[in-house]
């Protein structure tokens, strides 16, 4: 009986799961475990002393804060962009569609250097912003700009296919049933898109937290002000403090993992409630 239940159209569950686990271990788990093994050479009080110094704590605030904010900004404008690309046709649409992927492809250092050149006080944009009192390059705001730049494609590319599947008929049906425009957006479109939006948010956030190359050029890197956590890790490595570096890395890993787990749970929940609606 049990055998009959687990029978599938295609065989190979054992093989594919086994391969998946082995592959994941090799590529993801073993390197990450190394971080914790190295960190485990510290006693807890030593570990705590390293990861709770004011300078390091300031970087958590900037790294996680700016990453969450950047992901949120990307959700707003990414969904807007995906909407325009899916729902309207206009000249140059293919071109814009291709442009969205550029932050994926560009080496991050190139992105960082060009953003810095743009926003420095002698740059194209910076020369107009500085007189207004808006400093972007070499401030935490610059960090945010870089993170928004590298995170954009994640939201667009996760929302776009879902939006393509969302038939206009749903909106028309809602309208014919007497929904206002706002109700249509709020009750029909957003709930359907929400799981994809959250995935995009999670991906953009995850990418932003780990980002080093582009941020380092525009950040200014002043302790307590504009240092990101990955820079602290690099700094510790430069001083041969391997254990200290892995301790901070472990904190980042755990924090990111918890946040991603939360976002995934939220996404699963919205998917269930979205199914209830449609």
């Amino acid at each position: 009986m049990a055998a009959a239940i687990t029978r599938r159209v295609l065989p190979g569950f054992g093989l594919s799961l086994g391969f998946t686990l082995a592959y994941l271990s090799l590529i993801v788990l073993v390197p990450l475990a190394a971080v914790f093994v190295k960190t485990a050479t510290l006693s807890f009080s030593e570990f705590w002393a390293i990861v709770s110094t004011p300078r390091v704590v300031a970087t958590y605030r900037l790294s996680f804060g700016a990453s969450l904010l950047a992901a949120a900004i990307n959700v707003v404008f990414g969904v807007l962009l995906a909407w325009s690309l899916v729902r309207y046709s206009f000249p140059g649409k293919k071109l814009i569609d291709a442009l969205v992927d550029l932050p994926f492809a560009l080496p991050t250092a190139v992105a960082g250097i060009s953003l810095t050149a743009l926003y420095a006080k002698n740059g194209w944009l910076g020369q107009y912003l500085e007189p207004l009192g808006i400093k972007v390059a070499f401030t935490p705001l610059g960090v945010l700009v870089a993170l928004v730049f590298i995170g954009l494609p994640f939201v667009v590319r996760t929302v776009q296919p879902v939006l393509e599947d969302l038939d206009v008929e749903f909106e028309e049906a809602a309208a014919s049933l007497g929904a206002t425009r706002w109700q249509t957006v709020y009750r029909v479109v957003i709930p359907t898109l929400l799981p994809a939006i959250l995935t995009g948010f999670a991906l953009a956030f995850a990418r932003a937290v780990g980002e080093y190359g582009s941020v380092i050029f525009i950040a200014g890197n002043l302790p307590m002000v504009s240092e990101i956590t990955p820079l602290i890790i690099i700094t510790k490595l430069e001083q041969y403090d391997y254990v200290g570096a892995t301790a901070v890395a472990a904190v980042m890993l755990v924090a990111s993992f918890i946040l991603l787990l939360l976002i995934n749970a939220l996404q699963a929940w919205t998917r269930r409630s979205a199914r209830r609606i449609t």
Binding site: T53, A120, G220, L222, P223, L237, Q239, Y240, G244
Partner: protein, 343 residues
């Protein structure tokens, strides 16, 4: 049957013979063309390009053998770490003794007394820290004391990640300490004030130079002397001036062979000769040409015009060596952390 066996045996022996011959030629070829890997820091790229060409010629003339030299450049700390982690460097030529000490401490690839093996603390050339300012020196910066004035912006890389910046930091500290009535406390106050004038801390020297030159940030850039000269030469002498302070720190970028690696690779003899050649008149001349301060008085005399005299103090005199300086100033909770966290 016999013929077949014969042929087979013939073939086999022919194969073996060919194999031996191949191995022999390969062995000879290998023995004749030795490759050295020189792991160095960022600003020495041009210096060693020139020097390697000269040494290859010298080695050929002296021994009749060919030698190929590979260079690897990057931040001094990162380069030291690569060697510790297994990069098979034959020689290392880094920005400061601390990074080479780490190779002894962490990986035991060299003996503890490595710095005593070659003359002049194993530093065939020296350098110092000078100021690069905008043309005409609009802020009138003459000496270290001017760097803490209001409205002066100073660009330096982060001493935690850049070897050069550690020299900057210590030079400023030592300046304040050597003032009449200077104490550790007054030195710390001076350096704290100086870093309040620093708007950007790039992780490495080349990045900081870009911030100063391309982004137009800052009034003065604290620089290796040779980098300052290179920058003015490359980016236009009409844009920047080099200001040599009254006193500065004597930076001794040391060199050593990596014992474990050269013994494994059989390159000890040539690696040793390579480093010794740095002290030869020709090696010293090349160092001077690339704006390093040669040890040899004759070469120093020749490049006197471009390397202005400056009162130099050494890290051993003022700080009691690199290990101590590193611990007091740059380790976690050291003075550099203090000036940022206790504002």
């Amino acid at each position: 049957m016999t013929t077949v066996r014969l042929t087979r045996r013939a073939l086999a022996s022919a194969g073996v013979a060919a194999g031996i011959a191949l191995a022999a030629t390969a062995g000879v070829a290998w023995a004749q063309s030795v490759t050295l890997l020189n792991v160095s820091y960022d600003p020495t790229r041009e210096l060693y390009q020139d020097f390697n060409a000269a040494f290859i010629k010298h080695w050929k003339a002296k021994t009749g053998k060919d030698v190929a030299i590979k260079q690897s450049h990057g931040g001094s700390g990162k380069q030291g770490r690569s060697v510790i982690d297994g990069l098979p460097a034959d020689v290392v030529t880094l920005a400061l003794a601390y990074d080479i000490d780490a190779i002894h401490e962490r990986a035991k690839l060299i003996p503890a007394d490595w710095q005593k093996r070659l003359p002049n603390n194993s530093s065939p050339y020296t350098s110092t820290i000078v100021f690069l300012v905008r043309k005409g020196n609009p802020k009138g910066i003459k000496d270290w004391g001017d760097l803490v004035k209001d409205g002066v912006q100073v660009v330096t890389p982060n001493p935690k990640t850049s070897g050069g910046a550690r020299w900057n930091y210590l030079a400023a500290w030592a300046y304040a300490l050597r003032q009449p009535g200077g104490t550790e406390a007054s030195a710390k106050e001076f350096v704290t004030k100086l870093f309040k004038n620093v708007p950007v801390l790039d992780p490495a020297a080349r990045g900081a130079l870009t911030t100063f030159t391309e982004r137009g940030i800052g009034d003065v850039f604290l620089s290796w002397e040779n980098e300052a000269h290179l920058a003015t030469k490359e980016l236009g002498p009409d844009k920047y001036d080099i200001i040599v302070p009254v006193s500065s720190i004597l930076a001794e970028p040391p060199v050593t062979i990596v014992d474990t690696n050269v013994d494994k690779q059989g390159t000890r003899e040539v690696a040793q000769a390579y480093l010794e050649y740095l002290y030869s008149p020709e090696g010293q001349d090349i160092a001077g040409k690339h704006y390093y301060r040669p040890r040899d008085p004759k070469a120093a005399e020749k490049y006197k015009a471009q390397l202005s005299p400056v009162q130099l103090f050494t890290i051993d005199e003022v700080f009691g060596g690199w290990q101590k300086a590193q611990k007091t100033h740059f380790s976690d909770g050291g003075t550099f952390d203090q000036i940022y966290t206790k504002r």
